[in-house]
């Protein structure tokens, strides 16, 4: 459907005119196909055949992809358990007060496995209505401090969580300060299910963004204003994987973060009992908290959207191809027919 014209005839004409003895120091422009705008070109033309084939091609490619993606998504087993409301004692009126008051806030949950889950099973916590993408929040960190012990005093971007009593806070800033501090432990048939919390962060973060010689300092030292979790000050930041995961801020207010991996298969109808510490305050901003267990496929986690979208677009293109074919068959015409010129069809209609 591409017509290709090589050097047009005028090029040849211009070339022959050249043969005349050139004037010395002539200002005659030199000939090149580029400057004379005579480059060989192909001119795609939207002929019916070309349009129909394009639509058909799209649908032929898209529909299989849609089917495959949908299958992949269906293969994934995902368990979502919202616990923020259930883990507050029933008689509590002021949830915020409850969560802010120190004390034991453990809570037990039972989860039934619907289908066989092959290891690794990923454990996520999901927060809702939490604006990790808020401009103030996102900027409230010091990459230099996190990376390198010698830049510990680089806290200018961390206010107000930069200093405590004139001493530098490491890691500084609102993100680190508000570190998620709910904890989960799992057991099946009263035997502990081990949660592997190693390698849950990005490798590049561990190795290049969080220093192995940077240790927490004065972190959460302010007793009156408590943020989130505290950190073991004897472990370097590069090994504080919960912190590393948390500090990769999410793009939207609803997000999941990796908590750990369960590295055994779970069988259908297994009942998993979860003991969790409900510490994190999402109540003041009406945020939900969910615990998520999920396997993955080659496509990642469970999401039907992609497959459905592929199928829809593929179907639409197939439909359009049909429409064009029908129109072409019912009302065939030579494209060059001038009576179809836009202004010929509608004289003066402007």
């Amino acid at each position: 459907m591409m017509s290709s014209n090589t050097a047009s005839s005028s090029a040849a004409v211009a070339g022959s005119a050249d043969s005349a003895a050139p004037r010395r120091n002539s200002k005659k422009p030199k000939y090149s196909r580029f400057t004379q705008q005579e480059l060989p070109a192909c001119k795609p033309i939207l002929t019916p055949r070309w349009v129909i084939s394009a639509f058909l091609l799209v649908s032929v490619v898209f529909i299989p992809i849609g089917v495959v993606s949908l299958f992949a998504s269906r293969d994934v087993v995902e368990i979502v358990d919202r616990y923020d409301n259930d883990c507050i004692p029933d008689n509590t009126t002021d949830k915020v007060n409850y969560i802010q008051t120190p004390g034991d806030k453990s809570c037990n949950r039972n989860i039934t496995v619907p289908k066989r889950m092959k290891q690794p099973i990923f454990v996520y916590y999901q927060l809702d209505n939490f604006y990790q993408n808020h401009r103030r929040y996102v900027k409230s960190r010091s990459d230099a401090q996190l990376r390198d012990n010698s830049s510990a005093s680089d806290t200018s971007s961390c206010k107000p969580e930069d200093m405590y009593n004139g001493k530098i806070i490491v890691p500084c800033g609102l993100i680190a300060w508000s570190l998620f501090n709910d904890t989960y432990s799992f057991s099946r048939n009263s035997s502990q299910l081990n949660v592997n919390k190693k390698d849950i962060s990005w490798k590049s973060d561990r190795e290049h963004k969080f220093g192995s010689d940077v240790y927490p300092l004065n972190f959460q030292a302010n007793g009156t204003v408590i943020g989130g979790a505290s950190l073991n000050s004897s472990i370097p930041l590069s090994q504080q994987e919960d912190l590393i995961v948390w500090m990769r801020t999410a793009a939207l207010p609803t997000f999941r973060k990796l908590y750990g991996k369960i590295e055994v298969d779970l069988e259908p109808n297994d009942v998993i009992s979860v003991t969790l510490q409900n510490n994190y305050n999402t109540y003041s901003f009406n945020g939900k908290k969910k615990l998520v267990l999920s396997t993955t496929s080659w496509l990642g986690g469970k999401n039907d959207f992609l497959g459905i979208a592929y199928l829809t677009v593929g179907g639409l293109c197939f439909f359009l191809a049909l429409v064009f074919t029908l129109v072409y068959l019912v009302k065939p015409r030579r494209l060059g027919d001038p009576s179809y010129l836009s202004w010929n069809r509608n004289p003066g209609g402007r």
Binding site: Y31, L46, P48, P160, F285, L299, G301, V327, L341
Partner: protein, 1119 residues
């Protein structure tokens, strides 16, 4: 030699009677009053009062900027662009902590854009400056305090200085002529740069000063000139000169204008009265304007829309921001505690939510600034520079003869070339070569001359007749040297062969008339001995040259005699024949003829006469009409061929008759009453009767090569052509026919003030009455024209409007100009003759304002400068002499015919700039109506712009929601990692890059490797950037650190989303395009398709033209 010259020129007094009028009493009474207050102390520039008056010096500057005001003024120019103002504000704010990103990333593009454009302006202005310096430092001889003439620079002249100007030099300022090398104080001036007229003008010194000839005589000379204030009127001047206690009136006859050139006179002395910017030529110049193309103006409007959108988005955003922020801290409760709302800065302070909302609004304005396409300006600027270089490089617009390629002097207006609606063209030097050639003649009823004119050739070509062998008129004809002004080939009468013709005696008389009946001055070149002819009009020169070439060489003129050298057949050698010239009855536009009365060596008295056919045939005697029918026939043919014809006749006078007439005539000539002109005319009329017809001449006002074809093509593209010329009406009409601007089937509407009543009023000299009567007459003529057009609308008759300068003056007045333009727009072609430079500019401005369409002005002389500057696009002809027009133009081409390619090809391409080109050059020229797409602004119309905006909106919606929908929450890789903002950002941006480039690809109609390179190159560049930038250490790459390599690339989801989203964003536009091509194709679509299918569409133009005609009718009816 000077002695001889002085003598020979005395005969001027014989016929220059028309020059002295006694009409200035009226205006001279105003001297000393308002508007007439200038006082010049001649020869005394240091006079105490002159110092006090402190008139301007002779320094002239045409630059737009000076060193001092360059920065502020050019910055101001820059900030006429709305977008630049926005970016300036943003740049200022970006230094505050409000900035969402570093000030450098906001400021850098602004500085680059503005800096580049300013540099361009600077360079352009520097060139103008260099030219000014050259002109200001030209040398002139000035009379100094040591009573000697010494050389000085032009710029150092002061008002009151006496200067000496030599032959062929330009006058350095406006001078009052004091004396010349000719004894009677006349001199000849070429005013081509002022009004485009090529004939020499005669100027007279006052008698009281004409004796001043040497340095000594100036020692004692003092005088005071009182005159009008500086103004732009080239054809009028009022003043008087007081000398020795007496006052002498001064008129335009004594004024030598800057910009004109001294000719045929060894030297003149003059006193400077207007210098520098006070001179009439500079007063006529308008400031070099900064032109902006319509698309640029439209872009401003688009930027307004985008800016409003931006403000709206920012406003809504900050409104919600304020509400949310306020909620963060109420009654001591912290809502979003992780933001620390209790200890915060003013930007997020929940206690002052409205203030933080406002500050957020400012931030948002910057943050969403990408809506305002600053990069668009940059890329348009780059594209324009490229387009300009394409224009400069085009070999089809290169002229071998003058060795000049086309040159785009500004790149601002390239796309405007694709939207030209009306062309305003100068005549001389633009349409015509400014040379007259004697091509044909009809003598005794026989037509001679085998040459073919340009018009005939193009007519023949149009009819499809085979072109006859053209060897005869090709220059450099073998064995014969071509003579300028002579393109006559006929073996029957050349080389003395005329003697063998049956009517050889008539042929002899015919050429003798040509050789004698004129006011030409021969100028012998001392070195080569060749004789050059200096004529007031190029026609006359052509006649004299023709006579010489045939064998009647006019070589000397004295006070009372005129000498020819011709072959005597009886003795077979050349003899000199001397004629006594008794009277010259001058040419004037009302008489339309000229005659001389001579006495030959045989003591016979002859009246030799040449004139226009309209007045000549009625003056023939009964027995002089022998060849009338044949001659008339020939004249008609010549006129059709675009030639200017003259009837040649003579009469033998009786001694008695002459004597009695001579007495009366001499009496009438010396009388100074108001009836002077009338009685002289009457007497002339009395003797120019009972003529005997000899034949007719046909002179070609040589059109430039290819002009008729070019005009034809342009008219097919529905581009209107107006000719604005300083020429006489007859000449202009003639050229109109010659270049197929006027055709036989067209009706002419002539608007003129050359009517008897107006003339009569003018004699009385009552200015107000003249103005009133003229006004009424013009009004009436316009009304009549309109009614003619209305009544003829149904019959499909085309009209040509011809209007002269004086009428134009009235027509352009406020209360008429509407109806005048209505008339003009309804005519297929318009010719304005006798128009001054200022009028040309005025017409251009009014036309621009009235129609709102794009105008293009084309011209070659300094008299076209203001027109070129006024028009949307000014095109200068860089052909022969004078660079002023080129300097003032936006584009320069060597020949008029290149306009076709400039508009139809480059204009079309530039207009469709994204695609670089859609159809090839040949197709553009083959289908001129393609050009209409530009004029109608189809491709950059609002519907199109809004369509693209909508498409962009749709695309962004698809990209955002589909990406987030399919990525957020769940793991996006097998290893369970979830998406953070970095990965999401990279994914979205990948989709954007693909979508933009693919959208571009499907709207490109013409793919060369360059398009492929840039489209796919940008996509590749994005991935390369991701990889390389991601591998920089995290201090530099921060959020981009290894995102692509570690997170995105291994994820199948990432690639699948890219594919899905990109195809989806393309679907709406693609489907639309497919349906459009199928059902409502545009011109270029169709032509492409036809070309693709190899169909010749000869029927297409005709059908389209019919439809277009219908459309036009409808539009007219609607308006």
């Amino acid at each position: 030699m000077p002695e001889e010259r002085r003598k020979m020129i005395h005969f001027r007094k014989l016929y220059s009677f028309a020059c002295f009028h006694s009409k200035y009493e009226h205006s001279h009474s105003q001297i000393g009053q308002k508007g007439y207050s200038r006082v010049v102390y001649c020869n005394d520039p240091y006079h105490s009062e002159a110092v006090e008056l402190n008139y301007r010096g002779n320094y002239v500057s045409t630059t737009k900027y000076s060193a001092a005001n360059f920065i502020p003024k050019s910055l101001f120019e820059q900030f006429r662009r709305v977008a630049n103002i926005y970016f300036l504000v943003v740049a200022c704010v970006s230094f505050s902590p409000l900035a969402p990103f570093s000030f450098l990333s906001i400021l850098a593009p602004l500085i680059v854009v503005i800096g580049a454009t300013m540099a361009k302006e600077g360079v352009e202005d520097w060139r103008r400056r260099k030219q000014d310096i050259e002109e200001n430092n030209r040398k002139v001889k000035v009379y100094g305090s040591n009573y000697m003439f010494h050389e000085t620079n032009w710029k150092e002249l002061r008002v009151g200085d006496i200067v000496k100007v030599r032959k062929d030099e330009y006058f350095p300022a406006d001078l009052v002529l004091l004396s010349s090398s000719h004894e009677d104080g006349v001199c000849y001036v070429e005013t081509m740069n002022l009004d485009g007229e090529t004939n020499l003008k005669l100027k007279h010194a006052l008698e009281v000063t004409s004796h001043l000839h040497d340095e000594n005589s100036f020692k004692k000379f003092t005088a005071v000139i009182k005159c009008e204030d500086p103004n732009e009127k080239l054809y009028s001047f009022v003043g008087n000169l007081s000398c020795d206690g007496k006052e002498y009136p001064l008129s335009i006859q004594q004024l030598l204008l800057r910009g004109s050139k001294l000719k045929n006179t060894e030297y003149v002395f003059g006193v400077v009265i207007f210098a520098g910017h006070d001179t009439k030529v500079v007063q006529n110049a308008t400031d070099p304007p900064s032109k902006r193309s319509k698309i640029e103006k439209k872009m401003d409007k688009i930027v307004y829309i985008l800016f409003s959108t931006l403000v709206l988005i920012a406003f809504v955003g900050s409104l919600f921001f304020g509400i949310e922020t306020k909620k963060d801290f109420s009654d001591g409760n912290l809502r979003r505690w992780y933001l620390h709302p209790d200890d915060t800065t003013v930007f997020y302070d929940p206690k002052r939510p409205s203030l933080s909302a406002f500050l957020h609004f400012l931030t948002a304005l910057m943050l969403y600034g990408y809506l305002i396409p600053i990069s668009l300006y940059v890329s348009i600027e780059i594209v324009k520079v490229l387009q300009s270089s394409f224009i400069n490089q085009d070999r089809h617009m290169y002229d071998e003869e003058t060795d000049k390629p086309a040159h785009a002097r500004t790149s601002n207006l390239n796309e405007e070339l694709g939207q030209v609606d009306t062309i305003l063209s100068d005549k001389t030097g633009t349409l015509t070569c400014n040379s007259m050639e004697f091509v044909k003649c009809s003598i005794a009823g026989t037509a001679y001359g085998r040459g073919m004119t340009e018009v005939e050739r193009s007519l023949a070509r149009r009819r499809g007749d085979p072109l006859p062998e053209t060897g005869h008129d090709v220059q450099g004809h073998e064995g014969e040297k071509s003579v300028r002004g002579f393109n006559f080939r006929d073996e029957r009468i050349m080389h003395g062969q005329w003697f063998n013709e049956p009517h050889w005696d008539i042929i002899q008389k015919f050429f003798r008339v040509l050789a004698i009946c004129h006011t030409v001055i021969p100028d012998k070149n001392e070195e080569s001995g060749e004789i050059m002819y200096r004529a007031e009009s190029p026609d006359e020169a052509a006649f004299v040259i023709a006579a010489k070439e045939i064998g009647f060489e006019f070589f000397r003129v004295t006070q009372t005699s005129i000498s020819l050298r011709e072959l005597d057949y009886e003795i077979g050698e050349k003899v000199v024949r001397k004629y006594k010239r008794l009277h010259v009855l001058e040419f004037s536009s009302s008489r339309k003829r000229m005659s001389v009365i001579v006495r030959n060596a045989e003591n016979q008295l002859f009246l030799l006469c040449k004139g226009a056919d309209s007045v000549m045939f009625q003056r023939l005697s009964k027995n002089g009409r022998q060849f009338e029918t044949q001659t008339k026939d020939h004249i008609k043919k010549y006129a059709e061929a675009g030639l200017r014809t003259m009837i040649i006749a003579y009469r033998e006078l009786g001694e008695e008759e002459y004597k009695s007439w001579d007495v009366e005539f001499s009496k009438a000539k010396t009388s100074v009453t108001t009836e002077h002109d009338v009685s002289v005319d009457e007497l002339a009329d009395k003797i120019e009767r009972d003529l005997i017809l000899l034949g007719a001449t046909a002179v070609e006002d040589k059109l430039q090569k290819g002009v008729p074809e070019c005009i034809d093509k342009l008219s097919q593209a529905r581009i209107k052509l107006w000719v604005l010329t300083g020429d006489k009406m007859e000449t202009a009409i003639n050229i109109g026919y010659a270049c197929s601007l006027l055709r036989e089937d067209m009706k002419q509407i002539v608007i003129t003030l050359d009517s008897p009543d107006i003339d009569a009023l003018e004699k009385q000299g009552d200015k107000e009455a003249i103005a009133k009567a003229s006004f009424e007459s013009i009004k009436k003529q316009i009304r009549e024209g309109m009614s003619q057009i209305k009544s003829a609308k149904e019959n499909d008759v085309k009209f040509g409007l011809i209007i002269d300068g004086k009428s134009l003056d009235f027509s352009l007045k406020k209360d008429i100009d509407n109806s005048f333009f209505e008339l003009a727009i309804n005519c297929a072609s318009v010719i304005c003759c006798r128009s001054s430079p200022k009028q040309k500019a005025l017409v251009t401005r009014l036309l621009k304002g009235e129609t709102g369409k794009t105008t293009l002005a084309i011209g070659d002389g300094a008299n076209d400068v203001s027109m070129l500057q006024e028009a949307d696009i000014g095109v200068g002809i860089s052909g022969v002499e004078g660079m002023q027009a080129v300097m003032a133009s936006d584009f320069s081409i060597a020949q008029f015919r290149f306009l076709e390619r400039l508009l139809l090809v480059h204009g079309h391409w530039c207009y469709r700039r994204i695609a670089m080109m859609d159809v090839s050059a040949q197709l553009c020229v083959k289908y001129p109506f393609l050009y209409l797409e530009g004029v109608e602004n189809i491709l950059f119309g609002w519907s199109c712009i809004l369509g693209w905006m909508f498409n962009g909106f749709l695309t962004s919606i698809i990209i955002f929601f589909w990406t987030t929908k399919s990525m957020i929450k769940q793991a996006f890789q097998r290893d369970g990692q979830v998406v953070d903002y970095e990965v999401l950002g990279v994914t979205m941006y990948t989709c954007v890059v693909w979508a933009v480039n693919c959208q571009m690809a499907i709207s490109i109609n013409y793919f060369t490797w360059i398009q492929h390179f840039f489209v796919w190159g940008s996509v590749a560049l994005w991935y390369t950037f991701l990889v390389i930038y991601g591998y920089l250490p995290p201090e530099m790459s921060t959020t981009a650190y290894r995102v692509f390599v570690e997170a995105c690339a291994p994820s199948v989801l990432y690639w699948l989303i890219t594919l899905l989203v990109v195809i989806c964003t393309l679907l709406p536009n693609f489907t639309f395009r497919a349906f459009q091509t199928q059902f409502r194709p545009m011109y270029h679509d169709m032509i492409q398709i036809n070309e693709f299918e190899g169909v010749e569409t000869d029927e297409l133009p005709r059908r389209v033209r019919k439809k277009l005609h219908l459309m036009e009718r409808l539009m007219q009816r609607n308006s």
